[in-house]
């Protein structure tokens, strides 16, 4: 029944856990269940959800990418520097630059993976270091605080005054909604999206059907690159500054959340709803720990614990026993 709405086992389970955590936080704090706090969570999570949508496309296609978060930092820095050099620019130019530069970085990953036949995790660990190293080298770690006016001015889409302050929905939420819709369209409704799934599911089978694997690589990594570019721009807008190492480390947080949402490392399986729920679970937990006054240092530890518990309970374990039985897939994934 629930399956009709795309709510499978993993999604249902995540919804339940999120509901329980929300219930707990509503009862133990008086700030959690307020419109102001909920809007905060939404604004804060938008950047990560944009990352997650892009990363899901790569995971589904059977790859992995570690470099997207530092890639987003590169996009931020390049795009903002270019905009300042051009004398300011505007939103349209900002979006266009972010997407194009981000796509370019993704395409570089795709080219290395496809044409040089290097495993995606190795390529993206290399480009992760390359992107970050180049960025830190050329910027000497110096941040940009003097953003163009249009970029640093907050764009508020919805506001409402409550007894504890203003509740606001800002531009990143809209961009997130657009990215999520576009990714859903790609993965579920467009033929090329189904070809991406096919490639992740059984590479050899996809090749025999004449699917253009090269184009699929550029599409998947380019899509993530474009998403990362947008996320970088939104993060700069949200933080009102460009700090070269602001997004460093974000890749593992997002990756863990997407896998928590049921995407399989190795390809062929994963849903957008699952990825979003996985991310929300982590965001809400982080928010709750803040509200409960627990040390931020405990956050990573608790997130790690949640992921372990969730993965072992969800029945989606990549069990050791099942690995041997998957020889058809293993043989198919040999490229």
């Amino acid at each position: 029944m629930l399956e009709r709405f795309g709510i499978g086992k993993t999604e249902g389970w995540l919804l339940l856990v999120i509901a329980l955590i929300c219930l707990f936080l509503s009862l133990t704090t008086d700030t959690f269940a307020t419109l102001v706090n909920i809007c905060d969570i939404l604004n804060y999570s938008s950047v990560n959800i944009i990352f997650a949508a892009g990363l899901l496309v790569v995971l589904v296609a059977g790859g992995i990418d570690i470099s997207f978060a530092v890639g987003a930092s590169v996009v931020q820095y390049l795009a903002v520097s270019l905009l300042i050099w051009m004398g300011g620019g505007n939103w349209a130019l900002g979006f266009a630059l972010a997407i194009v530069i981000g796509f370019g970085l993704g395409a570089l990953n795709a080219a290395l993976i496809y044409h040089f036949r290097i495993i995606s995790i190795i390529v993206t660990i290399a480009t992760f270091n390359l992107f970050f190293g180049l960025l830190m080298f050329f910027t000497s770690g110096v941040s940009i605080y003097d953003l163009p006016d249009w970029l640093s001015r907050r764009v508020i889409l919805f506001e409402h005054e409550t007894s504890v302050g203003w509740a606001e929905i800002t531009l990143p939420v809209l961009v997130m909604a657009v990215v999520v819709f576009a990714t859903w369209l790609l993965l579920r409704r467009l033929t090329v999206g189904r070809q991406l799934f096919a490639m992740g599911d059984n590479t050899e089978g996809a090749r025999r059907l004449g699917i253009n694997l090269g184009a699929m690589h550029y599409l998947a990594y380019g899509w993530l690159g474009g998403c990362a570019g947008l996320a970088g721009l939104m993060q700069a807008h949200y933080a009102q500054e460009v700090v070269p190492n602001a997004l460093y480390g974000r890749e593992l947080e997002v990756l863990a959340a997407v896998v928590l949402g049921g995407a399989r490392l190795g390809g062929g399986r994963g849903t957008l709803l699952g990825a979003i729920l996985g991310l929300m679970l982590i965001s809400i937990t982080q928010n709750g720990l803040n509200l409960l006054g627990i040390s931020p240092y405990a956050f990573r530890m608790i997130v790690g614990f949640i992921i372990l518990v969730a993965i072992s309970l969800s029945g989606e374990r990549m069990g050791l026993l099942s690995i041997g039985r998957r020889h058809v897939k293993a043989a198919g994934a040999s490229r």
């Binding site: 409704r189 033929t191 070809q195 799934f197 059907l209 020889h327």
Partner: protein, 512 residues
């Protein structure tokens, strides 16, 4: 269509030949220094079922790849389709002619629904467009109806049995308006009932005028459904023969170029004490009240239908699972097997059914695969791996088992099925077992190579090893075991001695 009607249809076909669909002449193909095909000819009529037989490496796959446009043949070959010459056979061209290949590993998408797998062709093509799930479902339903099969269209392919996956693969071929379907080893992992169902579908396709080329190792079923048999050996055409009048023995001879004497093992008095004894062994949901003994030098066969609990029992004997009750006694001492490490230390070895994924580390070298189970015995005084001891051991076993290899450092994946199976054997024999469990040791191994494996097994028994031979191919246990236990629904229901029964009687008892 009932078998009787098919029988008459076949006779009619012989009386008034159907129009020819495909004819190949003078097809040769070289890969580097290897002559994969040498002046081969092949033809098939509309609606005809032809069996393509031959051992692994005889050129069957190459021939299929030539016909499906994957490999261009050497100049001088002629190909006629529908009576017209075809010059530029590419995969796309072959598909547009209606030539479809159902590969052994199926090439399906396990995480996708049955409907999407069958109608995946709709997701291909030039411009990206919207996916029409409803149209896919309708098309898939129509094809399955045409095949007379019911499979839930919304199930994921990973949830299906191998037999059902096969049907999905056939359905996908039909979506593309197939006129000529190649089935590469379609029955390799099917039970008898599933094979029957598949053969019924092959007859149905043939009745619709679709030609089918059936590639199979199992001879009996092929002779049942095909009108002619084309035999290849070492890349050459041995000949094309009418299926009527062909016998299994004759076909084996044509495929291997050798004759085999089929005789059971002579009855032997077991005077030696049992090496291993199993007493009232039970494990809930898997097997119940199992008792038997295997003596030194004895080969005990264990057969029964798929799912009878044979492999589950073997896993317990190898310490991988623990029994709920009962005892395992080895050389008079009760064994407590907590893991397979305990079993190996006690002198038990297990050659698994699933050689490709469990028995061998495919990309690793022949040498390291041979010694992986005994690495702790190859260390020198400092506790480091000794390359010289390593080499000596590898050479010894490769020699003793007559494995045909290029170099011991080549990856195992370069070997043929029969030679791979010998490496698995070598790996376990290197542990010096007293009790050897062979679980379906000839799955995916050629007829000719099978004989070689059983020669080795017989010699091992002669040298005093106790052997448990598990197989679902009755002739295999009949001709190679001293005694045979028949397992059904987790229990041992019967025991046979080959010299006191016939193979037919055993088949009746087991498939009843």
């Amino acid at each position: 269509m009932s078998p009787q009607r098919m029988e008459t249809a076949r006779v009619d076909a012989l009386a008034a030949p159907l129009p020819e669909l495909l004819r190949l002449e003078h097809v040769s193909k070289r890969f580097g220094g290897v002559q994969a095909l040498d002046d081969v000819a092949f033809d098939i009529r509309q609606g005809e079922v032809v069996c393509l037989a031959g051992e692994n490496g005889c050129g069957k796959s190459t021939l299929i790849k030539v016909i499906s446009g994957v490999h261009p043949p050497e100049p001088g070959a002629t190909i006629f389709f529908d009576g017209r010459p075809v010059h530029d056979l590419s995969p796309a061209r072959a598909r547009s002619l209606g030539i479809q290949v159902i590969w052994q590993d199926l090439a399906l998408f396990p995480e996708m629904s049955v409907a999407e797998n069958i109608a995946f062709e709709r997701n291909l093509g030039g411009r990206p467009h919207l996916v029409h799930y409803d149209a896919m479902r309708k098309e898939a339903a129509r094809i399955l109806e045409r095949l007379g099969v019911r499979i839930d269209l919304d199930k994921h392919v990973r949830e299906l049995s191998i037999a059902q996956r096969q049907l999905v693969a056939i359905a996908r071929a039909l979506v593309a308006d197939a006129r000529l379907v190649f089935m590469d080893e379609p029955t390799a992992s099917l039970s008898r009932a599933e094979t029957e169902a598949l053969l019924a579908i092959v007859r149905r396709l043939s009745g619709e005028g679709i030609s089918v080329v059936f590639v199979s190792h199992r001879l009996a079923e092929v002779l049942d459904v095909a009108s002619r048999v084309t035999v290849l050996r070492d890349g050459r055409l041995v000949g094309t023969f009418p299926a009527a009048g062909m016998t299994q023995a004759k076909l084996t001879e044509l495929m291997t170029g050798r004759t085999f004497d089929h005789s059971v093992r002579p009855p032997a008095e077991m005077t030696t004490p049992p090496v291993i004894g199993v007493e009232a062994l039970s494990r809930a949901g898997e097997y119940e009240d199992i008792s038997f003994e295997v003596h030194a030098g004895e080969i005990l066969g264990l057969t029964g239908r798929l799912g009878a609990g044979r492999t589950e029992l073997a896993l317990t004997l190898f310490g991988m699972t623990q029994p709920d009750s009962g005892r395992i006694v080895m050389n008079g001492r009760e064994l407590q097997l907590r893991s397979n490490r305990d079993a190996i230390d006690a002198g038990i070895a297990y050659v698994s059914e699933d050689r490709l994924s469990l028995g061998l580390v495919q990309p690793q070298s022949i040498a390291s695969n041979t010694t992986v189970a005994v690495l702790d015995r190859l260390v020198d005084r400092l506790g480091l791996l000794s390359p010289s001891r390593h080499r000596v051991l590898v050479d010894e076993w490769i020699g003793r088992l007559k494995v045909k290899i290029g170099h011991a450092n080549d990856p195992v994946s370069t070997l043929s099925g029969g030679n791979q199976q010998r490496i698995v054997l070598a790996k376990w024999l290197a542990t010096g077992p007293k009790f050897l469990i062979l679980d379906c040791p000839t799955v995916g191994v050629d007829v000719g190579a099978r004989a070689g494996i059983f020669e080795i097994v017989s010699e091992l028994a002669k040298a005093g090893m106790a052997i448990l031979l598990i197989s679902d191919e009755i002739p295999e246990v009949y001709f190679n075991a001293d005694r045979i236990l028949h397992m059904r629904d987790g229990r041992i229901v019967e025991s046979f001695v080959p010299s006191q029964t016939t193979i037919e009687r055993m088949e009746r008892a087991i498939h009843a």
